[in-house]
């Protein structure tokens, strides 16, 4: 009886985790290059339910157990899975806005003083005081030969990521792809971090100049999702109350004589 309450409680915990993730997705419905998260859940490992075996008449053999079935301790969150599907490209007509219509990530000098890099699909860029291309957080985008300096003149970007400036100098953006995207970790600020040596240059980045990639959050399915979460939570509440009622009967009613 008591265990039933705890089993129901784990269910409520899982639903809260799903709600946290769903509301985060909805809060980022306007975030450029955002990728939505989905919660993966599973039941706790099964426990074996046993009973003592009677031997002979009137006695139990010590240690004699028989499996009668399996029982379960509830549910848990096994992982949060980021859906790396593409977002819709929105035309902005600004030369410094870049989007990736193919696979891969832009690389930014965002790892602090250690020279580390972080990865992002957000290509909303501008120039900094020295003419380097930076994102809205002020971090420089990295090309094959380090940070990309375009000066103040206009430039064009090819689908392969080659930037051609007005003086005809060319520099190729570093666009990195990962075969196993589940090893990427969200770092906030639109960034992903990756274990060292995991990335390879993207074969088909499909850089689109004058476009931005919108968040890939599916609004309708997310609304359905949170409705389902809320109703499941309600069911969990009722289950808990039913358990409480059963306990109440067991404690206060069993054995009373009217």
């Amino acid at each position: 009886m008591i265990r039933g309450i705890y089993t129901a409680a784990t269910g409520l915990g899982v639903l809260q985790a799903r709600m946290d993730t769903a509301t985060n997705n909805l809060a980022n419905v306007s975030t450029t290059g955002f990728k939505q998260d989905k919660v993966q859940t599973a039941s706790f490992p099964d426990l074996i339910l046993q009973e003592k075996v009677r031997v002979g008449v009137g006695g139990y053999r010590p240690g004699g157990w028989r499996v009668v079935g399996r029982t379960n301790q509830g549910a848990m969150v096994t992982g949060v899975f980021t859906e790396h599907g593409p977002g819709v490209l929105r035309e902005t007509d600004r030369e410094t806005d870049l989007a990736l219509s193919g696979e891969g990530f832009f690389v930014f000098e965002a790892g602090g003083d250690g020279g580390g890099v972080l990865y992002s699909r957000d290509g909303e860029l501008q120039r900094d005081a020295e003419g380097f291309l930076v994102n809205s957080r002020g971090h420089r985008i990295v090309g094959e030969d380090g940070p990309v300096q375009v000066g103040r003149d206009s430039f064009t970007v090819s689908p392969e990521g080659v930037i051609t400036t007005a003086e005809n100098s060319q520099v190729k953006l570093l666009i990195v792809d990962f075969t196993d995207k589940s090893r990427l970790t969200k770092e906030g600020n639109g960034y992903f971090s990756a274990p060292a040596g995991g990335g390879t240059p993207s074969a088909k980045p499909g850089v689109a100049q004058g476009f931005l990639e919108k968040s890939n959050v599916e609004v309708a399915s997310e609304i359905v999702n949170i409705m389902e979460i809320m109703r499941s939570y309600e069911a969990g509440q009722k289950l808990m109350q039913a358990h409480d009622g059963l306990l109440d009967s067991a404690i206060n009613r069993v054995g009373t004589v009217r």
Binding site: G13, Q16, M19, R94, E130, D153, G188, I229
Partner: protein, 258 residues
């Protein structure tokens, strides 16, 4: 649950900021030389689910949950506005990059794209507010007509038929004009993040050309702004709704014990 509430609240704040910026842009749709602003959004930090007491496995990759979104930057967009012919000889527009320099009453220099000049009592070219163009341009007494060519050369013909050449109008540019500080009234002040000012002859070295008897209209695209407002309003509703649902779930948790 508290996490979900704050996630949704951050989403609401972001949409509110976007709405404010959109409203400001629309207010400037008829202001000559006005440059619209654009907000950039990003997701906030990711935390371990186990820290908020959600049921998770004790080993392996720790599931993370996000904590909403924020406005990461608001940048002014210095895209060219449409040139509109006015027929007034003191109206100058820049077609391309660059700013007029204007000296403020306190002696400091401000920058402007608004070339809606007039002559003051001393026949100096001043803005509508009365701030002098810098370097100062003073027309000779008894002048009849002023002609400004695309490179900023001023020729003044007098009533007696003589033509005098005055000092040229120079304009200047920054690597990152988005970082200029707005003073209101279409005026901007230099900032370190904007980079060093480069002054030059209009139409040379990548600077824009001067077009006389024209003004640069606001670069705000009403259709784009209205679409943004609609989207922003719906995203606001979405987050408000998720907030209400998270609140209801919390209410259910409070009523676990009837």
């Amino acid at each position: 649950m508290i996490r979900s509430l704050y996630n949704s609240a951050s989403g609401i704040n972001v949409q509110q900021a976007r709405m404010d910026i959109g409203a400001g842009n629309i207010a400037g749709v008829n202001t000559d030389g006005y440059k619209g602003e654009k907000p950039s959004f990003a997701d906030l930090v990711y935390e371990k689910m186990s820290d908020s007491g959600r049921p998770v496995p004790v080993s392996g990759k720790r599931p993370l949950h996000g904590s909403g979104s924020r406005v990461v930057a608001v940048a002014r967009v210095f895209q060219q506005g449409v040139l509109r012919e006015t027929g007034r000889e003191a109206d100058l527009a820049i077609s391309g990059r660059g700013f007029f320099k204007v000296s403020l009453p306190d002696g400091s220099i401000a920058y402007s794209r608004d070339g809606n000049f007039r002559l003051n009592a001393d026949r100096e070219l001043v803005t509508q507010e009365g701030y002098r163009l810098y370097p100062e341009v003073t027309l000779p007494e008894g002048y009849r007509e002023m002609l400004v060519d695309k490179n900023g050369k001023i020729r003044v013909s007098s009533a007696d038929g003589t033509v005098a050449e005055l000092m040229d109008i120079t304009i200047c540019d920054f690597p990152n004009p988005s970082a200029l500080r707005s003073l209101g009234g279409n005026l901007y002040r230099a900032a370190a993040e904007a980079g060093t000012e480069e002054e030059g002859v209009p139409g040379q070295n990548g600077l824009g050309e001067i077009v006389q008897k024209s003004l640069e209209s606001s670069n705000v695209d009403l259709a784009v702004e209205m679409t943004g407002l609609l989207e922003s309003q719906r995203a606001y509703q979405l987050n408000a709704r998720a907030l209400r649902m998270a609140d209801e779930m919390w209410g259910m948790a409070n009523n676990l014990r009837k």
